[in-house]
């Protein structure tokens, strides 16, 4: 019983991280209809920023978020303006290929810059607290809290602010939004900026919990895709739900199925993904738009 509860708690904490990791992917897909294959690489950049600031400036990875967020917002804004906006209205294939190209280029750029040695960030508060017989690692609990904060912030931004309304308008109908005077290019750039900033922040938060290396991206992209398919496009509660479902499934399987390491998490998410795509292509909850393009 205790073991089950412990695994459940671990899965929940992992799910919180997954939720914040997937937000950017989910919103970019929901708003622009682009499947961002470079998503894992933005996480990787965030993780390396967290590591670099920790290693050379002694900054705490969570404090470093204040620096990483604006920096990566700028990165995302420029990237969207210079590259992605040019192909956003072309066939899907083009956006897939261009983000695939970006992902390869970024991963290998980082390999050249930092070699493929795994890097670690070891913070001082690396312990855990025990509550009701269940151990909670401190770092992962902080990540969970920060994830909830990020989600709340993004939700408020999308619902309340003027820019958020433009973003939602552009997601619902690009042409109509353009007619009523939404600057689509700028809206998309801001969307990408915010999404990439949050993604990089998730990467930086990840840095104290696991090793960082240039090729950590693709499995994370795949997980992001699975969670988005589970939770629906651009839906923040959906992201949380999908993240928790995947997190709990992964920890349960790696805990109770003998002979399987956590490495198989990718395989598990793949199985879930294929099942979802075949059985419920609109996601478990529905979202900004259906996962299946035929319904558009």
């Amino acid at each position: 019983m205790d073991q089950i509860l412990q695994a459940l708690a671990n899965g929940l904490l992992l799910g919180g991280f997954y939720a914040v990791m997937v937000l950017g992917f989910s919103v970019i897909w929901g708003v622009m209809g682009i499947i961002n294959l470079a998503h894992g690489e933005y996480l990787m950049i965030g993780a390396y920023l967290g590591w670099g600031l920790f290693r050379y400036f002694g900054m705490d990875p969570f404090a470093a978020l204040l620096l990483i967020l604006p920096l990566m917002f700028l990165f995302g804004y420029v990237l969207q303006y210079v590259l992605i906006n040019r192909i956003v209205e072309r066939p899907h294939l083009m956006s897939l290929l261009i983000t695939f190209g970006i992902s390869i280029a970024l991963a290998n750029l980082f390999k050249i810059l930092f070699t493929s040695d795994p890097r670690n960030v070891s913070v001082t508060y690396n312990g855990s607290v025990e509550l009701l017989g269940i151990t909670f690692p401190i770092v992962k609990s902080i990540i969970f809290g920060a994830a909830l904060l990020c989600m709340l912030g993004l939700h408020l931004f999308l619902q309340r602010s003027r820019m958020g309304k433009s973003i939602r308008a552009a997601a619902q109908n690009r042409t109509a939004a353009r007619i009523v005077g939404v600057d689509i290019n700028r809206t998309y750039a801001v969307t990408a900026g915010i999404c990439i900033a949050i993604t990089a922040a998730a990467g930086a938060m990840l840095s104290p919990t696991q090793a960082i290396f240039p090729f950590m991206g693709p499995p994370l992209t795949l997980k992001a895709y699975t969670i988005t398919a589970l939770g629906g496009l651009g839906r923040i509660p959906g992201a949380l739900m999908g993240g928790v479902v995947l997190g709990v499934t992964e920890t349960m399987v790696s805990r109770f199925v003998p002979g399987i390491g956590t490495n198989l998490g990718v395989a598990i998410s793949f199985v879930i993904l294929v099942l979802i795509l075949i059985l419920r292509p609109q996601g478990l909850l529905g979202g900004l738009r259906p996962v299946d393009p035929e319904a558009e």
Binding site: I35, I98, G101, N108, N263, V274
Partner: protein, 337 residues
Amino acid sequence: MMARVRDRLAQLGQGWGGLGLWWLLLAALALYPYTGVTHLTLFLGSQVFVLVTLASNWNLIGGMTGYVDFGHAVFFGIGAYVMGILVTKSPLLVSPEWGFLQALPVSGAAAAIFALLIGLPTLRLKGPYFSIAMLGTFVAMREIVRVLRPLTGGGVGLNLPPVLNRLGDYYLMLVLMGLVVSIMWWIRRSEFGQSLIAIREDEIGAEMRGINTTLHKILAFMIAAFFTGVVGGFWAWQNTFIDPDVVFIETRTVEMVMMSMLGGLGTVWGPPLGAVVIYVLQTVVWGRLFGIHLLALGILMVLLVLFLPEGILGTSGRGGGTSIVRLWGRIRQRSDP
């Protein structure tokens, strides 16, 4: 004048002339070892043939059918592992040399069967969803191979019996490449190929016209997987060592995609041309700068999408010349005020 040259080129590619030229080239390549070349040259030659074959195969599903496969290297990996397992573990095979030729079609068949199994669910997905599902298949398969330690050797890998036969490798790959490209040429002319292109352009429309789209997609996928598996088996034999990280490597898929794109998606002669161009670029231009290969490929991919999405030989479906001709026209227009 330009237009006439272009028309002739297009006809040459589609007609018997194209195939004739191809066979002439093959004959020349078959005579090439008699000019007294080193083992290294033969080895490099077979490497180029591998790339051409892989690019042509990818083009069948990614270019002609329009289902962009970001995990095609999974079939390469399966072929390589079936070869590795058969020649090292199977008690049925006595002598390794004989085992290789026996195991080669088996590794292709295994990949084709896997394509059937994985294609039935994934080919129902449209466009980008298929691409990601295949990327997932690829990443998941690498982990599965790593876990199945008794059969695959896990992360330690498998050592195949080393048999050095560069001349044999060269001819084997030459025949395989000639066969695959000729098949692509035939498919492009046949009703089967026309149906594939119809599926690419408008799948629902194709279905309405009475094309059994599922059957066509699965068949194309299986053919592409079969030859990719055979190449994988060959590669494992030639390399004499396989582990999950050298076999299931993203680079291989990236190269297939890039070569097809550069040459022209959906054309017969584009992928071979793209393969040779990228190989030359790789060895001559960025090969000397260690580790920059994939960075350059990634940047090249972004640039291609932005500026030359149809590749060197690609014609857009709705008239108009090859991209090169149009790019030339645009440059002339710009310079003419």
